[in-house]
Symmetry: C2
Subunit: 194 residues, 2 copies
DNA sequence: TAACCAACCGAATGATCGGTCGGTTTTTTT
DNA sequence: AAAAAAACCGACCGATCATTCGGTTGGTTA
């Protein structure tokens, strides 16, 4: 692996676990074996380094969901949404650092001053919400879903799923056994009566 | 207001908006007009200062919900839960800094090494979940709520409501008009069919 | 081979940080 | 009023931080 990629990989872990200000370039240097001068040769400063990390996070998350979506063309809407929720929970486990990064505060603060940062975050959340909404729209047509506003429902649904992932990350409670309840809630939220 | 309280008030704002490492004692000194020596006279170090801030946050949140609960003795379970959700959204607006603090990452990281910090966080989340669960339990008895596991449902419900507050805080999207959809989702989640 | 260039190095720098300390002022107690 | 205690002050300190810079290396091109 090139030094540049090694730096990006370690930076992702450090930024997500220790935050922006909690990540020291000297520590990153020690972990990757790259001199501090090398880091600043590849990235013009710390913020630029994080922006590149965030870009990688965006790419990998978008890739994962694109690939997932292509395998779910022939399902009913409700099943699609349930599949997306399950996949989201799965990804939150396999791409722990990337999801942790999105649960931190500093990227959203940086987005207030950095248009590039804001653009990355918007791409990620737009993609996620679009996928939820797509399933809901399809479900409205095939009758498996009954809701008023697809977009708003997608946002509430996303807030719920992501909220569970957050509860699980912080381990204030054992939210591990919560996935079944989450799926039940998901189905209730999308269907009418019965 | 005493210097000590002025320090606590400003520290709450700075910690919640700029994070732990992003809050400089010199800045806190400048804002409050207290010399840095004075700050360290009242609090033995930066972490101790934050622990006192968190304690205040805990007290005020617990007080608010205790007072709210006393006015809702004679309602049906479902109405109680809906009232709590509305009150939670209301508080997230009036106590913005306190809720923002709980949405940051560093208190949970500190909880891994500081039992005091962990205790405060547990008190807050236990209180909130208990209140949700209480309403659900009551609803199960009076028939206004139909769910399998009250505790798990309370956690999913809390994750959903808190997730919406988070979406609103970070303003990636205008989640302001989402409260109606949230209440609909809340009702669907708690009731069976019709 | 000579010239070039991107990747790489690590000591040095100036700014900033949390925390200390010796002292003064204000309040409380006796 | 005298003494004791608590609140308060700000210059100072050592550590740490992001970033710079002059120089080396190794591969590619002319």
């Amino acid at each position: 692996m090139s030094k540049r990629n090694a730096i990006l990989a370690s930076a992702t872990r450090l930024f997500s676990r220790n935050g922006f200000q909690g990540t020291a370039m000297a520590e990153l240097s020690a972990i990757t074996g790259a001199a501090t001068g090398t880091i600043f040769h590849h990235f013009k400063n710390k913020e630029d380094l994080f922006l590149n990390v965030l870009n990688d996070v965006k790419q990998s998350i978008l890739d994962q969901f694109d690939r997932h979506q292509q395998t779910r063309r022939d399902q009913k809407g409700l099943e699609m949404v349930e599949g997306v929720v399950t996949f989201y929970l799965h990804l939150a486990g396999t791409m722990e650092d990337q999801f942790l990064l999105l649960h931190r505060h500093f990227p959203f603060k940086m987005a207030e001053t950095s248009p590039v940062c804001r653009s990355h975050l918007e791409s990620i959340y737009t993609c996620l919400l679009d996928i939820f909404e797509e399933g809901i729209q399809k479900g409205l047509q095939d009758g498996s879903v009954a809701v008023d506003s697809p977009r708003k429902t997608a946002m509430v649904l996303f807030a719920m799923v992501d909220g569970i992932v957050r509860l699980n990350t912080y381990r204030v409670y054992d939210a591990g056994a919560l996935y079944d309840s989450l799926m039940v809630a998901c189905r209730r939220l999308l269907t009418k009566g019965r």
